[in-house]
């Protein structure tokens, strides 16, 4: 339990049908590899849903952040259904509403605007991750 204290599991949807799925994936990588590698753990959604035991156990005891590509909210829904607690869910569409100049294009390879949108999303999530990290309890979390 102590090694997970202050850590957050990050689950992107990585949908393949729209650029916003790639944005969710890139945002997760930015957060987990560049911004807060010590405080986050990236988890593949399908691995969680299809019952990998170790993954389920990790998700059950660690607060989760879901990054959804579209309004279907697959990552949020399925993390909750798999026994996880989603302390914060962000959707690419909502991030786009705050940054209308960043229209993401491309699925296999995101355009500049898509990569920037992903970076902005990751930076916005840092606050949640840091707040949890400082005390192990997220006082300002949006529980979903």
């Amino acid at each position: 339990m102590s090694k997970d204290k202050g850590r957050v599991v990050v689950v992107p949807c990585s949908g393949i049908g729209k650029p916003s799925g790639s944005v969710s994936r890139e945002a997760a990588y930015e957060l987990c590899e560049s911004l807060r590698p010590q405080k986050t753990q990236l988890v593949a959604l399908s691995k969680l849903v299809l019952g990998d035991a170790a993954t389920r156990e990790t998700v059950a005891r660690t607060p989760c952040v879901a990054i959804d590509g579209c309004q279907q909210m697959c990552a949020s829904k399925m993390v909750k259904k798999s026994g996880g607690t989603v302390i914060h869910a962000v959707a690419v569409l909502d991030a786009f509403r705050r940054h209308r100049e960043l229209k993401a294009e491309g699925i296999a390879e995101l355009n500049d605007a898509g990569r920037k949108l992903a970076r902005v999303m990751a930076e916005e999530l840092v606050e949640t991750v840091d707040a949890l990290g400082s005390s192990g309890v997220d006082k300002g979390a949006t529980y979903v």
Binding site: K18, C70, Q71, L93, F96, R97, R100, K103, A104
Partner: protein
């Protein structure tokens, strides 16, 4: 119609424009108000709706004058009014939850209600369900043939 894994619904109880606006009379009389919205094909093709701005209540429009701007995560749509008339009501849900257009384009995702200026004349220029379906099939085919 179905293309690949996508299904595009075309209800038979309303009329359509070639641009992808549906038009539903709220009664049988020519003076009855007209409700309008985006077709299933148009909303799916355009992507997740981020913002929807509709001309306010009281606005007078000619047919083909811009009724609404719908901005999606992919594109900005300028939607022409299918008929001449006065905007009576704008869907209040569009302010906070414009994605209702994607979720229920023919029901809760309506855009506006219009008091028609000359329904008889404007009605004649609209497409019936089968005509619109045929037009939509051509649009889909064009999309598929794009490189």
């Amino acid at each position: 119609m179905t293309a690949g894994k996508f299904t595009f619904r075309v209800p038979e109880d309303r009329l359509y424009t070639a641009e992808g606006i549906w038009v539903l009379s709220e009664g049988d009389r020519p003076s009855n108000r007209i409700r309008v919205g985006l077709t299933d094909y148009l909303q799916q093709h355009s992507g997740d709706v981020a913002f929807a701005f509709v001309k306010p209540s009281g606005a007078r429009l000619l047919a083909d004058e811009t009724l609404a701007e719908v901005e999606t995560i992919k594109t900005l749509l300028e939607l022409p009014s299918p008929i001449a008339g006065t905007v009576v009501k704008v869907n209040p849900a569009l302010d906070l939850t414009p994605e209702v257009i994607n979720r229920d384009p023919y029901g809760e995702g309506w855009l506006a209600t219009i008091e028609p200026a000359d329904w008889g004349a404007d009605r004649a220029g609209l497409l019936g369900p089968r005509e619109y379906l045929s037009h939509m099939q051509s649009q889909v085919q064009e999309e598929l043939e794009k490189p």
